[in-house]
């Protein structure tokens, strides 16, 4: 078995597991006992792939970016997850999990969301399947991502503000877990990333693995090459990176680059670069690397991007980091903004702020001219327009073009 797949106890190396109160044990156990059988069933695969094709719009293009390639002197391809229905890779996972929830007979769906992308993707599949949907979102995120709040409400979801702690993704997750504890029987918790207790990290990685499955044949079709040299993806919890890396984890000649949000800078105290600032610990039911103080209190992270503003990282990524299979880089708020403006101008694509972090490391890497790089463009920038308008104003005031 691959050393990058979860073991029979739910661990990736020393990371993962299920560190949950007894109150959640039956729910998690039910999922653990059933998820593989459901995912591997013919009926599930048929419906999942049908919906991904006809509803989500897959396969998403693998686009050779000529101008970006010229600028950085390498062959750069963009995996266009931004073209998915609802604007990001998140829907690959929600389509899969809603089918699992239906199979388990659950009627009430809860989810957490940071930027709102996962919330929208969950509200969307709940509308599609006619299931009750409650989305927990940090009060701070509700303010900075108001269009997504309206989208969720229009889709019929109830958006509940998480008002504890830093009022961001971490706290939205705490509130969702609490809700699940209080409604154990009829509720399905649809987690949006490769985080949480086993089997969530593995289940979500499998549902996002369609990304690298497509990259494999698309790259072959376009270049004749089996593998790219490098894959770059941003990491908050790490679901888009898990999907983009999934089918390459054992191909050690493929460099896997995970890009974390440095916020204002790694050493400023305002950062979300977990691998650089974190220590081994437990968050949201999983043993992983997280940003914490000497007493194990979880530190509130910071990033301009709500989707990367998370103090932990999925256990698979902690394992990729510890084993050095993954290369962990980071980008600051400003570097991400600059990368977003650069891609928009060079290729006519406005990326999400999260994905802009992945683009931002191109200038920090030592690239070869025949190097084939795939960047997972996990989402589109519509939701970040307000931030981009502010940046545009600054640029205009400075007299940039």
């Amino acid at each position: 078995m691959s050393e990058f797949q979860v073991d029979e106890n739910g661990y990736y190396g020393q990371f993962g597991g299920a560190y949950i109160p007894e109150l959640l044990y039956p729910n998690v156990k039910e999922l653990e006992d059933n998820y593989l059988e459901i995912i591997n069933s013919e009926a599930f695969q048929k419906e999942y792939l049908y919906l991904l094709k006809q509803y989500v719009g897959r396969p998403t293009p693998l686009y050779y970016a000529p101008n970006l390639s010229d600028k950085y002197g390498a062959h750069i391809y963009l995996k266009r997850e931004d073209l998915n229905h609802t604007g990001a890779h998140k829907i690959n996972n929600t389509i899969g999990q809603i089918l699992i929830a239906k199979h388990l007979g659950k009627k009430r769906i809860i989810a957490e969301t940071g930027a709102g992308q996962h919330g929208v993707a969950t509200a969307t599949v709940c509308a599609l399947m006619n299931l009750e949907c409650i989305v927990f979102m940090g009060e701070v995120d509700i303010k900075r991502q108001s269009p997504n709040v309206a989208r969720m409400q229009m889709l019929g979801a109830e958006v509940v503000a998480a008002t504890s702690g830093s009022k961001t993704l971490k706290d939205a997750t705490n509130e969702a877990i609490r809700d699940w504890i209080q409604h154990p029987e009829e509720t399905y918790y649809l987690i949006g990333s490769v985080v949480g207790p086993h089997p969530y990290p593995d289940m979500v990685a499998r549902l996002q693995a369609i990304i690298s499955e497509e990259i494999k044949w698309q790259l072959k079709e376009q270049t004749g090459k089996e593998n790219p040299d490098t894959i770059i993806a941003c990491v908050g919890g790490g679901s888009n990176a898990a999907g983009a890396f999934y089918h390459y984890m054992d191909d050690k000649e493929v460099q896997l680059v995970a890009v974390e949000a440095a916020g204002l800078g790694i050493d400023t105290g305002e950062s979300a670069a977990t691998s650089q600032l974190g220590e081994v610990g437990v968050i949201h039911g999983s043993k992983t690397i997280l940003i914490q103080d000497e007493y194990g209190q979880i530190v509130e992270p910071y990033s301009i991007s709500a989707g990367l503003d998370y103090p932990g990282v999925g256990p698979l990524h902690a394992h990729l980091f510890e084993t050095k299979r993954g290369t962990f880089l980071n980008a600051t708020d400003q570097e991400a903004l600059d990368a977003a403006f650069e891609l928009t101008k060079l290729e006519g694509i406005i990326p999400a702020l999260e994905s802009s972090h992945a683009l931002a490391v191109l200038g920090k890497m030592d690239l070869q001219k025949d190097q084939v790089i795939v960047i997972n463009l996990s989402g589109r920038g519509d939701k970040d327009l307000e931030t981009y308008i502010t940046e545009l104003g600054k640029r205009q005031a400075r007299g940039d073009e």
């Binding site: 560190y19 949950i20 109160p21 109150l23 044990y25 705490n174 949201h284 914490q292 000497e294 194990g296």
Partner: protein, 255 residues
């Protein structure tokens, strides 16, 4: 024999325990709360170790924890506070916190400190059984610590029996599918659940928690299990009234 085992031998029913948040409402209230509760006749105490992300707790305990952390509480301060009154406290002390706190502090060092300040039992609601069996059972034993597991209305009989076998303190019977701090009375459904557990004839003492907030709920629960833990209701009380009238709060419940 541990103080707790001794207590259970002497008093098999109507055991009353209180959970309090260390360092709340004021940093140094830990000491007055412990002394006050012992004087008021509480049988044993749950010393809450405030955590930033208390998954199994409701808003009352989370908010009190956030305030305590802001007050400057941490494990070293708590151990120091307990050390100071070690010789003045006779009732058993249990520490309740989260797994990450112990691991980050250094599990062995944590256990050693607990033992030295007189804590003899731990409740870490998010510690998986597999970790306990693999690593912590032996470590806790080395420092004379016993571990408490929780069971809920959804816990299977097989698992309850396994927990009963592994338990040398008591089983923490979560009275409802709920986070701490739930309100209301004890329902027929909960009583049926208590009776189902009783019918298993377990060897362990059964203490109920989560949602015990008044004389009424305490009395009802004690008809079915050996005792109960009052948590959020007490935290709310000291938050509003301070630490000087604890006696009144306790008498109201245990008479």
């Amino acid at each position: 024999m541990s103080k707790l085992t001794q207590l259970f031998k002497e008093k098999p029913n109507r055991l009353c325990s209180v959970y309090f948040t260390s360092g709340y409402p004021q940093l140094n209230d830990t000491v007055s709360v412990i002394k006050g509760l012992e004087a008021a006749g509480i049988d044993f105490l749950e010393v809450g170790l405030p955590y930033s992300d208390p998954m199994a707790d409701g808003p009352t305990i989370q908010e009190s924890s956030a305030i305590a952390l802001k007050n400057g509480i941490n494990l070293d301060v708590i151990f120091k506070q307990l050390e100071e009154i070690k010789n003045q406290v006779n009732i058993p002390l249990i520490a309740m916190g989260y797994f990450n706190q112990m691991v980050r502090y250094g599990s062995e060092k944590f256990c050693e400190k607990c033992q030295s300040v007189g804590i003899e039992t731990l409740v870490l609601p998010d510690m998986p059984m597999i970790e306990y069996e693999k690593t912590y059972k032996a470590m806790f034993a080395k420092y004379g610590l016993s571990n408490v597991f929780l069971i809920t209305p959804q816990t299977s009989e097989e698992r309850i029996r396994k927990i009963d076998e592994m338990t040398d303190a008591f089983i923490y019977v979560v009275a409802s599918s709920s986070i701490t701090g739930a309100k209301g009375s004890i329902s027929e459904k909960q009583i049926a659940y208590f009776n189902r557990i009783k019918s298993y004839n377990l060897k362990s003492t059964l203490i109920a928690g989560f949602g015990i907030s008044s004389k009424d709920t305490f009395d009802t629960v004690c008809e079915h299990v050996n005792g109960a833990i009052i948590g959020s209701a007490f935290v709310k009380y000291v938050g509003a009234n301070g630490v000087n009238t604890i006696n009144g709060f306790v008498k109201e419940i245990i008479g």
